[in-house]
Structures are given as C-alpha cells and as structure tokens.
Amino acid sequence: MFDILQILLSESFWSASLRIATPLIFGVLGALLCEKSGVLNLGIEGIFVAGAMVGWMAVWLGAGLWGAVLAAALAGALFGLLHGILTVPLGLSQHVSGLAITLFASSLSYFSYRTALPTVSSPPRIGPFQPLDIPILSDLPFIGPVLFQQTALTFLALFCVFLVWYVLNKTALGVAIKAVGDNPNSVDAQGLSVYGLRIGAVMAGSALMALGGAFLTMSAFDAFFFGMVNGRGWICIALVIFASWRPGKALLGAILFGAFDALQVRLQTEVGAFVPSQVFLAAPYILSIFALVIAARRAEYPRALLTPWFKGQR
C-alpha cells in the first residue's frame, strides 16, 4: 500500500501519465468533434496509424518536425474528408464506413512504409521532439518535472483542449456544430450547410486523431512499428462517451487513463512475480470497457449521432 502511495506522489509517475495521455487527448478530442456534429468516426484507429506513419515518414524524408506534424494532420483531414463524403451527403452506414477507413488507412500506411523501406530489418530512427526545457519553470518543484519534461506536442494537445472548448462554446461556428449534431434541420432552416458543417467537423476531428498518431512516432518513440497504435483509437471512442462529449472531461479522462497505465507499469515491477504480466497488459482495455459500461446509461449522445440527413427530406 505504501508503495502505491509513493508511486502516486512521485514526479516521474505524473510525468509518464501525461505522456501516455497525450495521444489519447488528441484522439478523444478528435472523436468528440466528429460526434458533436453527428458523425461517429470509427476510422480513428486507421487514422492514428496514418498519422504516425506520415509524421515519421515526413521527418525521415527530411522535413522539419513541425512540417511533419502538419503533414500528419493533413493526411488525417484527407481520410476525414473521405469518411465525411461517404457518411454525410451519401448517408452510408457510419459504422461500416468508419471500419472501411480504418482498414484502408492502415493498409495504405503499411504498404507505403514497406514500399519505401523494403529491406530494413530494424526500423530506422528519426530525431524526435525533445522535452521543452524552459529556464526557471523547469526548475519548479514537482510542477517543473511533470510539465516541462514533456515535448511540444503535449503542450499542443493541452492547447487543443482549450481550443476545442472555446470553439464549441464561444464561437458561432461551434454553436452551429452542436446544433447540427442535435437537429440538422435547425441548421438547414437557417440557411447553413449541414453537409459543410459535418464534413468540416469530421475533417478537423480526423486531423486531431492523426496528431495523436504522430505523437507516437515523433515524441513517444522515434520509429514506426507495425501495430504500434494497438487499439488506442478504440479506447478514445470509449473515453469520449465516458467524458460526456466535454473537452474538459475528455482531458481528465485521458489523464486518469494515462495515470492508470503508468501505475500498472510500475506495479508490474513491484508485484510482477506474483501476477502474470498479461493482467497488466490487458488492464487498459478492461478499464475502457468498464468506463463504457458505467457511462453508457447516463450518456446523452448527440441526438443526431448516426442519423444521416438528406436535403429536402424532412
């Protein structure tokens, strides 16, 4: 018991939690934005892979780190555009289209990676983002190591939480996105474009998802592996329900999740002799299901989620 307390009070633990949470923050925000507009995006898992691959590949081809981040976001937005076209004006099943995007984005990424690097045995490395070392701030007790051992992408994720919150609650655009996810007719009756708003939201959300993937290859690790996303996208889909579609709660959920994940790694070293390591490996997925079960009944889904809307059909 004392050990757990010691872990919970340590700087490195919270620093790791935030690091693990970062891709999830991007992913949950992305899923949140899509779903707020009424579109479930199960392409998330594949878009993570694509973001990871494109970000990594861009740097490997000589782009700057931020240029690579932009490229990853762009790739995500393109897959979002595809999902948006299939599900919004064409009104196809969001479930199936999303899964198709996941299959398509991940196989395209793997194929491109293999085609670019047919023969390497160990994945080539790139120079990833380094922790931001800010004088004075980094020296603050506790806060310093926790916050300022993170890379710029983590700060970008935190900023995106604020950005998504601000857009949804303070801007005309955000109000329109919330409206289109509740009742598309409300938007249509005011002469705004349902299709435009939804496709736009899905593209922006998908760009965020891709950033989550890019964090994996450009900050958490420095190479691209097969299967490195490993269900993170699906976890985000569960977390967004848990977070009741609120950016603040999404941040909280992602960090709680990160903390739990960081804790299990540390516990594993403590009690690994008695408990099979797989218990810890499976914990994040079990936790996600648990979170979903708890949250599902009281979840207030965006009313128009999964419901296609066609012009002139009311």
Partner: protein
C-alpha cells in the same frame, strides 16, 4: 445542383452485379499502388492470377484460405442483419481456437468420432460466449457493442499470449509460445490427398447453406430480419428483441469460434498467437461484399481469399509488399459501400434554372 433520390426498389441484377463490379474495380485500382511500387502492372496481375488459378495446388490453397473467411463472414453477416455490430470475430475466433487446443491436445484421449464433435462443440461455445458478453453489456447497460467487441479483441489476444506461455504451452515446444499438437484423431480429415483443404470447408459451406435457409424461410430468420430492420416496430409487434439479439450474438460468436476450430484442428494442428492474419476483420469485408447474404458470403470469401493468395504469390515474385492485399480488400469495401449507395439512390445532377420563364 445535385440531388439524391431513392430508387423504388432494387432489381436482383443490381444486387448481384454491384459487388462484382466493386470487387473488379478494387482490383483495377490496385494498379495505382503497384505503379508507385515500381512493379510492372500486367506481369503483376498475371502473377496474381496464376497464383490462384495456375495449378490445382494453388487453387486448393485459395480454398483453404477461404474456409475461415466463410465462417467469419457468416458471423458478421448474421450479426449485422440483426443490427448487432459484432466487430469482435477476431477475438471469438481465438476463443474457439483456444477451446480446440484445450480439448484436442490430450485431455480426452477418445476416438475421433467423439473427439471431433466435442472440439467443435466447445469451440462454438467459447466463441458464442465471446459475443454473448458484449451483447449482454449492450442489453443491460447500453454499452455500445462496437467498442466493447473491438476492445475484447485485444483482451482476448493478451489472454491468448498468457495461455500460450502458461497452461496451454507445449512442453516439447522448445520454448516457443505454442500449444501442444492436436491429437491425430482430433484433426478434421483432409478433403484431398497432398492438399491442405480440410473438412472445415465442408462445414463452412453447410453452415452457409443452413444460415441462408433459416434467414429466408424460418420464423427465427423472419424475427431476426425484423429486429435488424426496425427494432422499435419489432418490439411493438411483440417480437422478443433482446432474446433475438442474444440468440444472434451466440450464433455469430459460435461461427467465429468455428473459424478458430477449423484453423487449429483442420489446418495448423496446433495453436499459435499468429493463427489469424485478421480473419475476423476481413470477415466484415466479406459480409459487406456479400450484401449480408449467407450465400453471398461464400462467393465473397472466395474472392477475398483469391486476392490474398494471389497477392502473396505476386509479392514474392515481384518484391511488392504483401500489404497490397489488405489495401485491395479495404478498397473493395469502400467500392461496395459506394456501389450499395448507387443501387439504393440515384444522384440527379442538373443545372439550376433560377426563375426560368
């Protein structure tokens, strides 16, 4: 000005023709990545074709590959018919495989007449269990089964690793994480000498025929279709919706479990963690290509298996990544989605004539 209008009804020709066109289109589109990879297009296609139809053995390999896809395709098709989004066939496949390995590797040393049905029964039960859990979570707590089945896939695969390193580990396996071999009398017989096709294929075809018959002709199928097409109206009409969902969940999971049984006790003879290269997920594509019809699943599975086997052979010959096959399969799904749209709606384009006289 673009408008979308529903077509009255779909003709049979549309229903059958569309997936075929989609599949061919996906194959043609594969020319793009092939070009990017620097492979000669026509040679590559020729290689793909001969990789499937070039020899009796090649063709039998394709059938072997199609076997698990028929099972997982049926699993997805039946569940989707009931609007139960079972994306967990991959996990249920491994549950079935683990059951087969647990039962078939020497716990019961009985004759094949008893052992084989027992293995199948337990495999089905394990797979069914794997889908009943998320279905129950959906019915009791409203937890979205898409997410739970997807997450369960990961949990089950981790559980599999544990089993292969522990209880199911082959003591003679030189430390490799694999199960002991299935007893000889527990193996499904081969269909042909010197080929890998096994009776799993026959079982799969029987399952497809039975599912097709039940769906169209039985009260059970009638109710399943009703629940899937309009759950509210089905409930209102007195159809026990939850029971229907649980039933199709069990059936869907059992079929996925059978895929695992057939791979372990029909093909490989033992269980490893890389038993399935994503058969569960590919089954979704198979089901969609088949228009969720059990009979169609057989044809779609043959097509997808051909793509995989052909692409494998082509990639060995041409040095193109075998991920091409996955890419073609994903593209086929996108094409069939679009095609399904075109069969249900027509897009009407026309110049908007503001205030024509």
């Amino acid at each position: 000005m673009i408008r979308i209008e529903a077509r009255g009804s779909q003709s049979l020709a549309w229903k059958i023709g569309l997936p075929i066109i989609s599949a061919i289109l996906a194959l043609i589109l594969a020319a793009i990545p092939l070009t990017l990879a620097g492979a000669p297009i026509l040679d590559s296609y020729a290689q793909m074709f001969s990789g499937v139809f070039g020899s009796k053995f090649a063709f039998s390999e394709m059938l072997t590959r199609a076997t698990p896809l028929i099972f997982t395709g049926l699993a997805a098709a039946l569940a989707f018919r009931g609007k139960l989004w079972n994306i967990g066939a991959e996990g249920q496949l491994y549950l079935g495989a683990m059951a087969a390995a647990a039962i078939g590797t020497g716990v019961f040393d009985v004759s094949g007449m008893i052992l084989i049905p027992t293995i199948i029964l337990f495999g089905c039960a394990a797979g069914a269990f794997g889908m009943i859990v998320p279905a129950t979570l959906k019915i009791r707590f409203g937890a979205d089964e898409v997410v739970t089945t997807l997450l369960l896939n990961f949990i089950i695969i981790i559980f599999l690793q544990y089993m292969l390193e522990g209880p199911l580990k082959d003591p003679m396996g030189l430390g490799w994480p694999q199960s002991s071999p299935i007893l000889d009398q527990g193996m499904l017989p081969k269909v042909m000498d010197r080929m890998r096709i096994h009776y799993g294929l026959i079982i799969a075809l029987l399952c497809a025929a039975f599912a097709q018959f039940m769906l169209v002709r039985s009260v059970w199928g009638f109710k399943l279709r009703a629940v899937g097409e309009n759950m509210n109206a089905a409930r209102h009409a007195g159809i026990p919706v939850n029971r229907s969902l649980l039933m199709v969940a069990a059936l869907s999971g059992a079929l996925a479990g059978l895929a695992g049984v057939s791979e372990v006790a029909g093909l490989k003879g033992y269980l490893t963690a890389d038993l399935s290269p994503g058969f569960g997920y590919t089954g979704i594509v198979v089901a969609m290509l088949a228009g969720l019809s059990p009979a169609g699943v057989v044809i779609a599975a043959l097509f997808i298996a051909s793509v995989f086997v052909g692409a494998d052979s082509m990639s060995r010959a041409m040095g193109v990544s075998s991920y091409l096959a996955d890419l073609v399969v994903a593209t086929a799904l996108l094409c069939v989605l679009l095609g399904g749209f075109l069969s249900r709606y027509k897009i009407i384009t026309g110049v908007s004539q503001s205030g024509g006289k």
